[in-house]
């Protein structure tokens, strides 16, 4: 609990300062009240959190940091505004194009792994995929996007890619 004296110190009041008793004391009391309420709510949050952890190994701080990556990747949010409509749209389009490219690549790898392609088909596939990837890099460079810019965060679903 925070006392009035401690709050006075926090607010920079000390000995030798003249205090307008009426106005400042009300402010001090109000500040005390707010700080104590915050302290109580923080304490109850912590208690609730502790009661919910039934089993844990490893570092809770590291786990917490890992989980928070799902919601705090601000770079990957799509923010369309009138001022950035063209680059915002480019980001959306390139994200979708890259997603499709990766899906096609994955399917191609499964086919190669399956052993059903001829040498010529494998060669052509390699050429196509390589050129697709190079073109994607060119487009990213043109719009000044990085890989993480195109990895949209879907909140609870995690990252797109």
């Amino acid at each position: 609990m925070i006392t009035v004296r401690e709050t006075e110190n926090l607010l920079g009041y000390g000995e030798g300062n003249e205090i307008n008793y009426r106005r400042d004391s009300l402010l001090i009391i109000a500040t005390c009240e707010v700080l104590n309420k915050l302290y109580r709510s923080l304490k109850s949050m912590n208690t609730m959190s502790e009661n919910k952890i039934l089993f844990s190994t490893g570092s809770l701080d590291e786990h917490s940091e890992e989980i928070s990556k799902l919601t705090t990747n601000e770079e990957s949010r799509l923010r369309l505004t009138p001022d950035n409509a063209d680059s915002g749209l480019a980001k959306l389009v390139l994200t979708l194009v890259d997603l499709i490219r990766r899906l096609v690549e994955k399917q191609a790898m499964r086919r190669v792994d399956g052993g059903s392609l001829t040498d010529e088909e494998i060669e052509r596939l390699g050429e196509t995929l390589m050129k697709l990837e190079l073109k994607m890099e060119e487009l990213k460079e043109h719009f000044h996007f990085t890989d993480s810019d195109l990895n949209l965060n879907l909140g609870p679903l995690g990252d797109l890619m």
């Binding site: 952890i53 792994d113 040498d119």
Partner: protein
């Protein structure tokens, strides 16, 4: 004024108990809570201005607190934050339209709670271990790799990455199978997510009986002994946030 819905509660003959609890509880920004009922289901709501429906941390915590407290006494379906309706009449009509689905979901979660098991790995170590188990591969098995075109070399590299990923996913599937087997005697419903992040390789959301908590903890302890390279985090019990399977119409 609009009304924000916190949850849909199965009341049966416990109207008095619910009302007593709602008098003690407060909603977002200290708002009063009250119930809107249709037959034996009740929506717990509070008044709110639509502009104040902001998904800030304090609002979310207050919202979750209400659901958490209610769930300790009643079977309920948590409602997604931000579900706002114009009036009590609209809410009653909504409850009527969705009554069958609501009842079906309430039956599914009756006397049950949700737990979350997260499994973490060290991504670098796991990656190195997986790489060590995958032989270096060439798409042309008869060739030593020399004289390949640049396209063939590119494809070989991609194929190697693909095989490593597939091997990693197969290993994760084995862990998931072990988790399923370890918890089978508790008769849970599972919802698995794989590779949530590079380190968080498995999320398992479980719905099981309220009385199964200690057995679940024991089962997780046994799993941890088997998988010494992984870390596990078990949390709960929670209201059944992830097991409400319908959309309000």
């Amino acid at each position: 004024m609009d009304q924000i819905i916190y949850s849909i509660v199965s009341v049966k003959k416990q109207h008095k108990e619910l009302n007593a609890l709602l008098v003690e509880l407060k909603g977002i920004s200290g708002s009063d809570l009250y119930d809107v009922f249709f037959d034996d289901v009740t929506a717990v709501v509070s008044n709110i201005h639509r502009n104040n429906v902001v998904a800030s941390r304090p609002n979310i915590i207050e919202y979750a607190d209400v659901i958490e407290t209610l769930s300790q006494q009643f079977t309920l379906l948590p409602v997604r934050f931000g579900s706002v309706m114009e009036s009590t009449d609209v809410i009653i009509k909504m409850l009527g339209r969705n009554y069958a689905e609501i009842q079906s979901n309430l039956r599914k979660v009756e006397n049950k709670v949700e737990f979350g098991l997260k499994v973490f790995c060290d991504p670098e170590k796991a990656g190195a271990d997986t790489r060590a188990t995958v032989p270096v591969f060439s798409s042309d098995e008869n060739s030593s790799g020399s004289g390949h075109s640049v396209y063939r070399n590119y494809l070989d590299k991609k194929l190697q990455e693909h095989r490593i990923q597939e091997r990693h996913l197969a290993q994760i599937d084995l862990v998931i199978q072990d988790i399923t087997d370890a918890f089978a005697h508790l008769n849970p419903l599972h919802k698995f997510q794989k590779m949530v992040t590079a380190a968080n390789i498995i999320n398992d959301l479980l719905l099981l009986g309220k009385d199964k908590k200690s057995e679940l903890v024991l089962a997780v302890e046994e799993l941890q002994k088997k998988y010494k390279d992984l870390q596990m985090l078990l949390t709960g019990p929670w209201p059944p946030y992830n097991f409400v399977d319908f959309k309000i119409i």
